[in-house]
């Protein structure tokens, strides 16, 4: 059991050790970091903001995001790819659920045979 616990922690820490965090640029290195947080609301920003500069348009954000630190790039991609926003995701979830239900039936059948 102790070995299992140790192995689980190692698996959790594996991605951390794959590359030193110091290799990534620090968040404070980006002069535009405060703009990133408006990505989701880009379409809902006020008209004045859109007119003031291209950085609030989707094209402007795409062009500028090349210079963002990794964590911000990830956040842009993450928030634009929510599971419930993807088409056909419900069917995929139901397919996964069907697999787990089939597993449940298999386990019940195994129990029934054992107890009989």
């Amino acid at each position: 059991m102790r070995r299992l616990a140790l192995l689980l922690w190692l698996v959790l820490l594996l991605p951390v050790g794959a590359q030193s965090p110091s290799d990534s640029p620090s968040p404070s290195a980006s002069p535009d970091e405060d703009h990133v947080w408006t990505v989701h609301g880009a379409e809902h920003e006020s008209h004045a903001d859109v007119e003031a500069g291209g950085e609030y348009t989707n094209e402007g954000l795409d062009a500028k995001s090349d210079n963002y630190p990794a964590i911000y790039k990830f956040m842009i991609r993450e928030t634009n790819s929510e599971p419930y926003l993807r088409k056909g995701e419900s069917r995929l979830v139901l397919r996964d659920a069907a697999v787990v239900w089939a597993l449940n039936i298999a386990v019940i059948a195994l129990f029934y045979r054992r107890r009989r």
Partner: protein
């Protein structure tokens, strides 16, 4: 049999009230009631407090529900074994599966009632300032309740064969790895870290675990994104499937255990 499960769940609920678990929930509810007003005082009239308050409040509810699920799931059965209160219960005509079900229902009631109280507190406090009661906060909170119910069922299963600390570690591991989103694996592990081996390992582990990321629909409320009802229905079916599987496995191990 349903009556026995009901009494066992009630017993568990009374035990948790005696342990004052509900006071933590009430303390957090007070924080959530004050949160939007606090954020509003820093928003300098930009009226963005609503978005920030919902984001922060729902994240707080999510973490609390997960912590509660791991703690209650791990201790539900093991504390009865340690305090030897399990033996008089099993000496009565109560099958072991009914005992496990009673415990699980008790854990779910404690968790879901806590999540409901916290989400109502958040909804009321946001509505008091924005003059609009957003019912979707409750929908998101119920999704968190579903997510933590799956995690609690898993922790009950782990606690049937492992010690409480190890069962807790297994629960945390399941939550972290099962909750990794595909975009996280692709971006951080492959593109940023350049570690396809770690990504493959994460994908393999995730394949056999519940996908907790499916239950996280917070951004739909925070950024007013469309949340399809068929998606909500599908995650309910998915969550129930995993709960049943973990409880079946728990029953299988627990019924064979020499107590």
């Amino acid at each position: 049999m349903i009556l026995r499960i009901y009494y066992l769940a009630k017993l568990y609920l009374l035990e948790q009230i005696r342990r004052q678990a509900h006071l933590i929930t009430l303390f957090l509810a007070v924080i959530l009631l004050m949160l939007p007003a606090y954020i509003n005082s820093f928003s300098l009239g930009l009226s963005s407090f609503e978005r920030v308050a919902k984001d922060f409040g729902l994240t707080l509810i999510n973490y609390y529900a997960v912590a509660l699920a791991i703690y209650l799931g791990v201790t539900a059965v093991s504390s009865d074994v340690e305090r030897r209160t399990l033996y008089p219960l099993l000496a009565r005509p109560i099958p072991r599966w009914a005992y496990l079900m009673g415990k699980f229902v008790g854990v779910m009631v404690v968790m879901l009632s806590s999540v409901l109280v916290l989400s109502l507190a958040l909804m009321l406090s946001v509505a008091a300032l924005s003059k609009f009661a957003d019912g979707q906060i409750l929908v998101v909170a119920l999704c968190y309740g579903l997510e933590s119910s799956v995690l609690a069922a898993a922790c009950i299963f782990f606690s049937t064969f492992a010690s409480p600390p190890l069962a807790g570690v297994l629960g945390v591991f399941l939550y972290f790895v099962g909750g990794l989103s595909t975009s996280f694996i692709n971006f951080f592990l492959v593109e940023d870290r350049g570690s396809p081996a770690a990504a493959m390992l994460a994908r393999l582990l995730k394949m056999v675990m519940p996908h907790f990321d499916l239950f996280r629909v917070k951004n739909a409320v925070v950024y007013t994104l469309p949340l399809p009802p068929e998606y909500l229905a599908s995650i309910v079916v998915y969550g129930l499937a995993w709960m049943v599987l973990f409880l079946l496995l728990a029953e299988r191990v627990f019924s064979r255990k020499d107590l």
